[in-house]
Subunit: 245 residues, 6 copies
């Protein structure tokens, strides 16, 4: 049963946070970390039989997007907003935008958009080295490369390591990379955590950096940006690329 539905039955807006891989532990980490006032938060995990346990490239993205769409297509009317919790230009984001006029927020876009108002040199801390070229590609294809982007730095940890390795070891590695590579060598002034699996780790990483550094948790950014759009009645346009086919 892929949906974790909020028990809240009030009239407040409902947002669905979509984990497009099939690892329930990631969904649960998001459930623990996320709080949103006046919003009913539901969660969805991609099916284990058709979606991969973690998303490690374009093939995984396509297959996981299709797996989610199969289950979600007829259900999209139930929510007032969506968060796609894969830190990439995951095709589920634009596909959902075609299916609904509710706002759909990607955890790649939201923190980069916020960051553009908070600093001038944004760096991304990601998982395995494989994601460095992939994220450079995705950020460029979304035209989110700032003039002074600090770039993408791999922590050397795999996505699944974030859950399976001892927390202390994970944090030491992430803090070191954030401070040494992004802050000191590449002179980032904002660090975006580049994986849904890093939800809730922003405070510890910020404390490892110079005072004044900003560290953004992409899942919280995407949820909050989605909710803020709902509050102002923001809709996905149905005239241009997201017109219903």
């Amino acid at each position: 049963m892929p949906f974790h539905l909020s028990a809240d039955q009030s009239a407040c807006p409902r947002v669905l946070v979509i984990n497009p891989n099939s690892t329930v532990a990631f969904t649960e980490a998001m459930m623990s970390a996320l709080r949103a006032t006046d919003v009913q938060l539901d969660f969805y995990t991609a099916p284990t039989d058709t979606a991969p346990a973690s998303i490690e490239g374009t093939y995984d993205s396509v297959v996981s997007a299709a797996a989610c769409l199969k289950e979600l297509r007829t259900e999209v009317g139930k929510w007032d907003g969506f968060v796609v919790a894969c830190f990439s230009a995951h095709p589920l984001t634009n596909a959902l935008r075609e299916l609904t006029s509710a706002p759909v927020m990607s955890i790649l876009e939201a923190p980069l958009l916020y960051a553009s108002t908070l600093g001038s040199r944004v760096g991304i801390l990601t998982t395995s080295p494989r994601w460095e070229p992939l994220l450079n590609h995705d950020v460029a294809s979304l035209h989110l490369t700032g003039q002074n982007a600090a770039g993408v730095v791999s922590s050397g940890l795999k996505v699944l390591d974030l859950e399976s390795l001892p927390r202390e070891q994970v944090m030491r590695r992430l803090c070191d990379k954030a401070r040494e590579e992004l802050q000191d060598r590449r002179q980032a002034d904002v660090i975006v955590l580049g994986c849904a699996g890093m939800v809730g780790l922003d405070t510890a990483i910020r404390e490892a950096c110079r005072p004044g550094m900003v560290v953004l948790d992409p899942v919280r950014c995407a949820l909050e940006m989605c909710v803020s759009l709902i509050r102002i009645g923001g809709k996905t346009s149905k005239i241009g690329i997201y017109a219903t086919a």
Copy 2:
């Protein structure tokens, strides 16, 4: 007395909405139109003796920014967030970012950032023809020109016309320009209202367009984006260009 302080004395976050021109009617229009849950909203109007009645170019921007900074500089610690309510690359925005670590949101940036997630061809409806080249310049200097920007269209109305002309005449002009110039001729799928004085006009203009068009009120966008950043603990970075001098 330039500040309109909220009577609310609760512990919820406080946001200051800054009108950098000296026309109180614009501030009052924003006071009427804005609602924000769980936020104490204060308003500020630039002083009549040093700031212009409306901002019509770079000279006005510089002078009004300095006038505001003189009064605000020692007060910035009182708020958790700021909205700069001039639809331009007004220099007050970056100057405030230097003075505080609270988020500072410009009504130019916020709607364009939201728009980038809602559509693919964003157009701006502004006031007098003079603002067409100025806004093209400002949008480009902020690197917010999308690949497929629909551009800036003047309504032919001056800023002060928005308050002084009959409402019906104002609305007909704005609706016609939005539909004919931005929607039909330039194929915008998102329209951003390009003046603080257009606060609250979004619904009427959207209704004049094709179903599925998105129309964004820049003041509400900036307030909501500012509040959402406060909710996630977002701060202005103190390491790069916004470091305190």
Copy 3:
């Protein structure tokens, strides 16, 4: 049976042309139109039960890509090159590049790359108006927008109209749009036919334009570029974004 395998059993290279929608008529049109010396040409049509009859947006792209990948994943070792016959940034292209080191050519990229050596102002003639914003988006995301791109022009015909309407009516519409919109109004000097369903129509459209106009059939371009890469031993790199996950 989705594969049309060449009877040729010689040792020459084998290329698979993939129609990612389920309309066999499009595959057959390509089979009739394509000739390649010293190459064994096989064809594949996406399955009717899971893939759409034509691809009209991102949702269709994702679903059709996943449908093809399910059948092709374990078979990719059989071919020396692949052509993805959907005129878009179809996600199947990059997903296949992850699965194989054989060259994979998209019918969007190949004609635009050739065109950059043949002229200086390239225009695209597509099908329904819906594809104008989608192709503008896709071309930009691939960084194939030239400094002087003439843009994307819709013929007003739907993809399936290309097969179902009388040939004469189809040709008149395409020729008129190419000449009036792309050649005369937008001053294109190269016209790329923007749909796999237009395979073989290049000569007639060129004859409707000024002498010296170049009109490129995207399917033939992609096939020939793929074959030429095979001839020089060109491989998909396994180090960067296309590394096998």
Copy 4:
């Protein structure tokens, strides 16, 4: 008395060099270093009570611009050209362009424009590390970032150090940074001195570099470019962004 007026009463053109900070020593350094044939050179220093002693960010820029504009606004008709002697996208430049049709030259723009005709990889040598991100931002906002810009390098000296530290120590530091960081590590072929306070230091720094290196003094560049525009009757356009409001 902020103006140092030339004693020359001939009919030759008059140019005002504006030091927008209040440190007279910088103005005097420019008075000593600048020579211009057939031009009456006047100098202006910003008022000590309202302008900062040196400009260290956006707040200082805005405040100093407003302080200058208050004194200059009604006087601009007296000069045939203006030089704004702050190496940044100082808002005084565009504000003056609105107030006059005489050419207004910024000491940031002029050397970068000249440099684009003299070499292919331009580097900037600035003062404190704080100016590295600020100048990267300003150069980008002016669209003066070349394809192969060598970037901005801080000498580690504060603006006021240029006047207060022993000359030998200042020169050694500047020469070392120019040679080691800009020439050797970043392969600049043109070096622009990035502070008005470096006026007259170009020869010594060039001699510390490889033969054939070009080092540009930004104040002399701006003055000469301004004078050259006066010679050809060049005016600030009154139609676009610099139209008088």
Copy 5:
């Protein structure tokens, strides 16, 4: 005898204005129109046997550049600066920069650089329609395309028409195109005359436009920018792309 040497034998700087086509009438028009204080102006016309009478494309550019280089190569030490009087990215410019450390100014670059400080939307008025795509290409290859370039407009006159047709007819055509196409339709605020053969026509064309329009004569711009560089000791860098081979 291709050189017209100034009779002036004083010690002031010598500049060579190079007409890379073989039509002496164009050289003579420049001789009549140009004045430069304190500079010895020499002129050179490309040889009639090897260079074309006018430059109408890339072939002509290459052949004329080689013809000039053959005669100029061993002579370049005689001048302190050079103007290449063909309004294009003529290869003679960069070839000369390799041969000398004196500044070499192209009549394409100089007015566009000046224009970037005088307005925000620069348009080019050229001769025959053939030059529209060529100049779009050249301007883009020099990275001189502004964010808001008004583009290139052909007057429909051939280069040689400028000399052979009645002056009144030439002027009416140029004035109409400048006003109707560049000023009114494309909203240029600076117009650059796009042919050496238009030397001296700037005043008449400006008078045909709205008050406040700026019209730049490219030959005078290039000469004055060259002279101004000589005044500040500006040299072509010998380290990067212009290093002597």
Copy 6:
């Protein structure tokens, strides 16, 4: 006698490979290395009296282009396609495109276009350090700089060293630079050999790199891309910048 004409008198297409320098050894190296099925390959070497022995900058490019054009101008009708075998934005390429409607392929463009479909971070291995800035400039002027270009790396070998030094020494140097600088330090996933004189060295260099690296021989790429265009009837457009003057 500058032409080496194929003995093949069949009806298959004829392609002329142009070596625009006068060193016959380079032409002979290409004759040995190139194979093309069903194509008659002819070769041309620039004349020793007017063209340089190797091309080391813009002056050499212009002079060699003119030397070739003088001999080729009246002969271009004899071939169905052309390869310009100088790894630069050699002006002969565009000049020939004006003279013929046959496809003209540059050995700079062809491998970069192919590479864009094979990987995401393309690096160029060139000869002497002088070519680093020149190629950065040329690649930028052709708008072939990808978002994630790995840049240009000099091997420290001069063009003529490739022929005169012991093969083993040449190969060791090239392999080391490819692996250490382009693969390891700059993370290229495709390496383009940046000199016609490196024809045939691709396999050895690829074997010195990580498995999965792609190394492209520019001469073979250009020949194959040219032949592939001939196969699909691709022509140089005669409407835009390549229109016959």
